[in-house]
Symmetry: C2
């Protein structure tokens, strides 16, 4: 099934069930007022939401309304946990190659993961706010899952069974703040502002054969200022599956229902700067840092700049029939003073 959260002036919005074709929705209020409430009691709420979903798709739902992606907040407008992996090691390999360093062998067996801020996500059509372009604003297009409760030390199989929903995310990064922040040794904080998630979150069964081995085997489509920028396949070159990422997060502590675990920037192995861009037949990129790394490796320094105020980022995923699975994240970079 497909779920979304409509903005209603409250902090958590209101949960709705969305039709498979993203054209209609019905209120989920009878089952759960919010997505977090649904996740808190999933065994009880999921069957009710599934029944609403079936009725909606079959045209039997009373009170079905036209669905408008731009009325959505992120599926969880605020969450109790957001932890982002870095499962596409190609991305890490490029980072290292750009500074003539080796990737430690452990990186292929022990997932990289950072704890992100989850108190105030923005909606999929909200602006990317910053106080300065000098922060080096970058997109990061990723896939993420939302889990139920997970026990400490859960196996990969148990972790797989706890995956409730799948969605897309733009994990915005402030690249120029990262070097100083990571040098301090405690990971990202100021360099990771508010993330935005896709309008719709879907259950894994909804993805059919595209969800296999706990990976999502579809291209992730990214446009920058309306131009094609990336379309790597999220199922390829993913060193760690979502089951492995969830199990990693639960290694020393329980995870509570509503935990969001991200894949890290999607990245496919490509030969070179020339061949990697979409214009030259490649699959392109899911962040500006990656093209800058190719430029550094081949030209000694980056040539492409980071995002400026007014730039737009669109992130979407289409199934085999060309239908949008999650709706589109579509954000404009803006100065925070415009937030009002």
């Amino acid at each position: 099934m497909k779920l979304a959260t409509l903005k209603n002036g409250s902090r958590d919005g209101t949960l709705v069930v969305v039709s498979r074709d993203l054209k209609h929705y019905v209120s989920a209020g009878g089952a759960a007022p919010t997505l977090q409430a649904a996740l808190d009691n999933w065994e009880y709420t999921a069957p009710q939401l599934a029944a609403l979903y079936a009725a909606l798709n079959e045209g039997r739902a009373a009170d079905a309304q036209p669905f408008d992606e731009s009325a959505c907040h992120s599926p969880l407008p605020r969450a109790y946990q957001w932890a982002d992996g870095s499962a596409y090691i190609n991305h890490v390999e490029l980072v290292r190659k750009a500074r003539n360093a080796e990737v430690p062998a452990s990186f292929y067996t022990d997932p990289l993961m950072y704890q992100g801020g989850s108190d105030s996500f923005v909606g999929p059509r909200d602006s990317i706010y910053a106080l300065s372009e000098d922060w080096g604003i970058d997109l990061e297009a990723e896939v993420a899952v939302i889990t139920g409760d997970v026990k400490m030390g859960a196996s990969d199989a148990d972790a797989a069974g706890a995956i409730r929903l799948v969605m897309l995310v733009n994990d915005v990064s402030l690249r120029n703040l990262i070097p100083n922040e990571l040098a301090k040794g405690f990971g990202f904080f100021n360099s990771k502002p508010a993330s935005a998630f896709s309008p719709v979150a879907v259950t894994p069964d909804e993805l059919g054969a595209h969800w296999a081995d706990n990976k999502l085997h579809l291209p992730l489509t990214v446009h920058l200022n309306q131009q094609p920028f990336g379309k790597p396949n999220a199922g390829e070159d993913m060193t760690f599956s979502f089951a492995q990422l969830v199990a990693h997060a639960a290694k020393t502590r329980e995870l509570a229902a509503g935990t969001i675990i991200g894949s890290g920037t999607v990245s496919n192995k490509q030969g070179s700067l020339h061949g990697s861009s979409i214009a030259n037949g490649g699959v392109g990129y899911c962040c500006l840092a990656e093209v800058r790394m190719y430029e550094t490796i081949e030209g000694g320094k980056p040539a492409t700049g980071f995002l400026k105020f007014g730039d737009t980022v669109r992130i979407e995923m289409f199934d085999g029939q060309g239908a949008s699975v999650f709706g589109a994240i579509d954000q404009t970079v803006a100065h925070y003073q415009e937030r009002g």
Copy 2:
């Protein structure tokens, strides 16, 4: 006023107002069902909670019940954000001295802060669960604040005005997992399991003159296995105030109501291993790592071990009259298989 969350089988517990002497409580249900709900609408709920608090202290509250700290969950059993500073630079100086390294000059002007997991805190009398003693289980006794909404780029003064409540925290650390995890470059994750907070959270005005310059000027009392272990003054040697820590967290993003910001392990400057222990007239320590650093500096290697299953940690703070301000965190280390 003083607030607590009683366990009631739900994920968020039930909010109660506690008398100044921690002897009685009344339900806060008429104002807000949970602490998060109260914080979400503080301007509206705080006056109602304050009225209940006044009635309770004056013996006018109907339905006042005996308050039992052991019935409490952490004030926020789960939170949308937990970010922990490292404001007592003495602690960092000892870490560096133990490995013959310098403290970077920027550490005295740019706060260290890590993003912690906030999805599943444990209660103040719950066990510290781990799967292995080999993880190097350590306590970290700290002070923390809970904020209201904070704008991106907030000034220190604005940040100070957003501090709603103050409490204590045991930020458990798995010391033997830290070196490998920090070497990966993305900060703490597996090395920071579930934290526990004091039974009671209090408004800053409740602390009187002990709350000055956005610091809490009282000794933080720590017992290990019923023996005195630490009593450093949390108001001394704190390089960054809570206002500065909150402003740092808000540098590039908004903070939502219910954000918890920690001080980092409380640590006072002391001369040497010999003079620093309570037995030798010092103020002792708020974590085992600190005494191990003194041992390393003076003896070449640590002698004190980390926590073992069955060990107990008690963290409390007393006012000038010897009354417990927040109630006590009192935890026993246990194997996770005992969780049932």
